[in-house]
């Protein structure tokens, strides 16, 4: 096993050139909360850690017109505590405040979690649901990837070797649109078994746009379009929302494991989806 090497570049360009140079042997270290356990367990494939914490100007949380931009050194705790996030995209603040525990939130970064693609991770769900822009730097000048198609599977994303996520840009929704994020965990110190992100737009009392994405059930965030389709054009009454949630549950394809059977996870997904829908509708109506 090769000895671990460490480098802390000070510019994005330098970081990218190191990542390009070392290819699959290198990994980006931001908060390290997902990467370092693999180092400790000796299961990581990399032996060069590129620590990006010295990069300047990456700790921003800003609103830029219709986008909420979060830089790659912003910690989950910062997102959770940000009044800007709470005002413009409260679901993201809820999500960030629910990750792990205080210690993990103080270290882990939102962009790091987005890039990591853990099937049980929270940030990927909203990234996919809202089709956030994942801004990527590389030695060719960089590109912007669509959040909706960013995730390919278990820890597999659209990132190529040598690329670095420098920020994520979430769309700021208008009045009349509400986004909510809900999850269920077995106990205080667990990964979630089911998460659901919901977006609902209301116009004149009926739903004009709806999106649902689940997390933790499958290998990546999963859009539940059929369930969302049930909601479209309807008034979001309790009966309708129940039906949407049940549709989502029926369509979910979780795997059985020590956390529960397929049937159980589908039931949970139904409840969590119902809560996310209720939250999104309330926000769409202007009720926090």
């Amino acid at each position: 096993m090769a000895t671990l090497r460490y480098v802390a570049p000070e510019t994005v360009e330098r970081a990218c050139s190191l990542l390009a140079e070392y290819g699959d042997d290198a990994a980006v270290l931001s908060g390290g909360q997902s990467l370092l356990p693999t180092i400790r367990r000796r299961t990581a494939a990399c032996d060069v850690l590129v620590d990006i914490n010295d990069l300047d100007g990456r700790s921003f949380v800003e609103r830029d017109d219709d986008q909420l931009r979060v830089g790659c050194l912003v910690r989950h705790a910062d997102v959770a505590d940000s009044s800007l996030v709470r005002e413009t995209l409260p679901a993201l603040a809820d999500l960030a405040g629910s990750i792990g525990d205080v210690q993990v939130r103080n270290q882990g970064t939102l962009c790091g979690a987005v890039a990591h693609g853990d099937p049980a991770g929270d940030p990927p769900v909203l990234t996919a649901l809202l089709d956030a822009d994942v801004v990527v730097a590389n030695t060719d000048g960089g590109r912007v990837l669509d959040g909706r198609s960013f995730y390919a599977g278990d820890h597999r994303t659209a990132l190529e070797t040598g690329e670095l996520v420098t920020e994520v840009r979430f769309p700021v929704t208008d009045d009349g649109t509400g986004v909510a994020y809900e999850k269920w965990t077995p106990s205080g110190e667990s990964y979630p078994v089911t998460t659901v992100g919901a977006l609902v737009e209301l116009d004149g009392g009926t739903v004009t746009e709806a999106a649902l994405t689940t997390g933790a059930l499958e290998s990546k965030p999963t859009p539940m379009d059929e369930a969302a389709g049930v909601l479209l054009g309807e008034e979001p009454t309790d009966e309708v929302l129940d039906r949407v949630a049940r549709t989502l549950g029926e369509n979910a394809s979780p795997s059985a494991d020590h956390e529960g059977s397929v049937a159980f996870k589908r039931e949970l997904a139904t409840t969590v989806a119902r809560d996310a829908l209720g939250g999104a509708v309330a926000r769409a109506r202007g009720v926090q």
Binding site: Y6, L36, V48, V104
Partner: protein, 188 residues
């Protein structure tokens, strides 16, 4: 060209001395060792360690501060919690290299020079918010951080803040009462 296996402290090592953004000098190369400079319990410490050294190992094995404990290897239990610039962090999941330049506080740094206990330490002992003591350093440090942020936390706030610190002995009630007591004590 910098030799990446150069021994520690060598003056020709360029990886630590670039501070301006124009980056006209040699860019830093990956190295197998890292020089870490921190303020540790109020004292300046500089030491060269292997790049893969976790902060918990740095504290326990390099600095002989064994009050920071390791118990789970999965970033779950919080027995390894220390304060980095005042924020509680799990030292088993942070590299020593990442805290270069930071202000670190471990449990050994809490009592006064004359041995008087920090009010939170005193509250834990008086309230019996500890039994076997293994989770205690982490609990105390997490609690100190909470009380810096919130003068008089509610029971639920304490619960949430301490959800990353597992205890097997107390059942948590006296830990929560200890924090409440310390909140009262630091009101003075």
């Amino acid at each position: 060209m910098t030799d990446t296996t150069e021994a520690s402290g060598d003056v020709t090592d360029t990886s630590e001395d670039v501070t301006d953004a124009t980056d006209t000098t040699e860019p830093p190369q990956p190295r197998e060792t890292v020089e870490v400079s921190v303020t540790l319990n109020g004292e300046s410490v500089t030491q060269t360690v292997d790049a893969g050294t976790f902060l918990s190992s740095f504290l326990r094995r390099e600095r002989y501060l064994t009050g920071t404990h390791r118990a789970c290897e999965s970033t779950t239990c919080g027995a390894c919690t220390v304060l980095v610039d005042g924020d509680p962090v799990k030292s088993c999941n942070v590299l020593a290299a990442q805290v270069d330049g930071s202000d670190l506080t471990t449990v050994e740094g809490l009592a006064d020079d004359d041995g008087s206990l920090h009010p939170v330490q005193r509250a834990f002992w008086d309230t019996h918010g500890l039994q076997c003591g293994f989770c205690t350093p982490g609990m105390v440090l997490s609690s100190i951080a909470l009380l810096e942020e919130t003068d008089d936390p509610s029971v639920d706030e304490i619960r949430t803040h301490l959800s990353g610190n597992v205890c097997r002995c107390t059942g948590y009630t006296k830990i929560i009462e200890s924090v409440k007591r310390a909140a009262g004590a630091t009101d003075d």
